[in-house]
Amino acid sequence: MTRSRPRGRRRVFTLVNLGALLLALGTAAPLYWLVANALKPGAEIGRVPPTAWPEDATLDNFEDAFVGAGFGTYIGNSLLISLSATVVVVGLSTFSGYALARLPMRGRGPIMVALLMISVYPAIAVLTPLYLAERQLGLLNSHLGLIIPYVAFNLPFAIWIMRNYMLSVPRGLEDAARVDGATPTRTVLWIILPQVRPGLFTVGVFTFTATWTEFLMALTINSQDAYRTIPVGMALFGTVYEVPYGTIFAAAVSVTAPIAILVLVFRRFVVSGLTAGAVKG
């Protein structure tokens, strides 16, 4: 028993290392290809056999994306829409999450189940009435026209996550605040909020990522060039006959790199936040 253990351990270790290597390679290879081709000039992108690394590395594609294709507009739209939606969602979900975790309301259970079901309902099933309504209200092709549905669609999951974080705050804190005569709103803002900071961060990251990557609603509601978000702009680049991959990849690197760097820098915080949220939610 004791003799077989170290041997088993050693074998597992090499298997683990091999697996980790495969995992890293499999994940990284397409990413490498994205970066490499963003740096290749047009002719080299279409070359057969493909060149393993850019032989004529150039930044022309980036110039095309931002100057020629107006990619900056899309980034601006995406930033405005995602940040607004995220701020509103974090604000609303804090109070709702607190109420659903702690306040003695009837029907909390059914509300939580309903929220969970709504948060997984397919967007396509909601899109027609939403489109018709926004058309009627003149909200098509506007920033608000996307912010409102983004808030509504991300709130249910956000409320779930916030509620779960709220549950982990010790009750004694609130009781003390109440004895001191603090109003409920004061209690939430000054006592609870500092305790659930990781929760706020998780909700923020989740909502921002979800709205930043959302495609179907953005495609139907904001199809006009001036109001396109990044995914829509990226999908509608080029024509049926020619897809300007170089420009697309340069744009892709420009929007992926900042997020990747953020993830690398804050990886411990992000990962713990994501796992807490995902497992609980």
């Binding site: 980790a20 709702s96 808030v151 669609f153 993830v263």
Partner: protein
């Protein structure tokens, strides 16, 4: 319409200082003391803005979509008009081969990708758990595809699959010597497989991270007991680890299934639903009928049927949902 106007006109203000507003319809029973009732009222005031926004933008449209699916709708310059109520939209669906194919494709796609992602994700989580130093870096790397815009990864894969200069085509052709490789996205079965590979690349990390979180929380002493009993690592995985991970894997499964069922971005960009309708999911089909052909009634019928399928799946999982709440309430 009205409900949505109201929801839109109130741009969801945060409710600080709202607690002195008059009661918002809190259910009141005599046996609860005054303070409890007051706190319940505060609770409803806190929750109302969220619930109103959610109801206006999701629940109301879901119901209205059901109405539209029974209607003949005409789009005009001023807006739209519902002309007649009819069952024709659904009868047309029942006679449409495309609709049955879209259901079969969506279900098959969901089953295969989620199954592969669960197996690979669990393996990846086991690897990550045993990895000492490089775990953080590998996880950061895994997070990149997950946080990527699906449209971006779809464009990337469409380039790699390209029939004349895609790197994967080149590998299959020149390195592996396959004659038939060049048309990956041009033939049904290879196109479906290609799409699944792209999905698995992007979503396996999500499963891996959830399972890893479950793994880390498993109690150590069970392992020690099993080790004392002389269990091999293989037995240990099947008898000790996996049974304890069941709840975690169920959560991952639930979320992945429901997400995969609405798959839209990837087929829309990678294949446009083609060749023919080979990769046309329910969402892609609904989108095409609704917004490219502007057939509101039939499109709403497709959307509603998709919603019903998802809703049915949800009801089947209701017990899992409930237990999820129960578990949290205990903690």
């Amino acid at each position: 319409m009205r409900m949505l106007t109201e929801g839109a006109a109130v741009p969801a203000p945060r409710p600080p200082g709202d607690d002195r507003r008059p009661r918002a319809g809190a259910p009141v029973r005599d046996h609860r003391d005054a303070n409890e009732r007051r706190m319940a009222r505060v609770g409803w005031i806190y929750t109302m803005p969220s619930l109103v926004v959610i109801a206006a933008v999701t629940i109301f449209p879901i119901l209205f979509s059901v109405v539209l699916s029974f209607a003949r709708v005409r789009i005009t310059y001023e807006g739209f008009s519902v002309e007649a109520l009819t069952l024709r939209n659904y009868l047309a669906l029942l006679n449409s081969g495309d609709w049955y194919y879209a259901i079969a494709f969506t279900v098959g796609y969901t089953v295969v990708t989620v199954a592969v992602e669960l197996v690979l994700g669990t393996l990846a989580a086991l690897i990550l758990e045993r990895l000492a130093g490089a775990r953080g870096w590998l996880m950061a790397l895994l997070l990149i595809p997950w946080s990527m815009i699906t449209v971006v990864s779809a464009q990337l894969w469409s380039y790699m699959y390209n029939s004349s200069y895609g790197v994967i085509t080149w590998v299959l052709e020149a390195v592996l010597g396959l004659e038939s490789a060049p048309l990956i996205l041009g033939r049904p079965l290879p196109a479906i497989t290609a799409m699944m590979v792209a999905d698995i690349w992007k979503t396996t990390p999500f499963v891996a991270i959830i399972v890893l979180a479950g793994l880390v929380m498993l109690p150590r002493d069970v392992y020690e007991a099993a080790e004392v009993d002389g269990a091999s690592s293989w037995t240990m995985f099947w008898r000790v680890t996996l049974p304890q991970l069941r709840a975690t894997i169920a959560v991952a499964l639930l979320f992945r299934v429901l997400q995969a069922f609405g798959v839209f971005d990837l087929p829309f960009v990678l294949t446009g639903g083609g060749p023919g309708v080979a990769t046309q999911s329910l969402a892609v089909m609904g989108y095409k009928v609704l917004f490219q052909d502007l057939n509101i009634g039939p499109g709403a019928a497709i959307a509603t049927s998709t919603g019903l399928l998802v809703g049915g799946a949800c009801l089947l999982c209701l017990k899992a949902f409930r237990s999820q709440i129960g578990r949290e309430e205990l903690s």
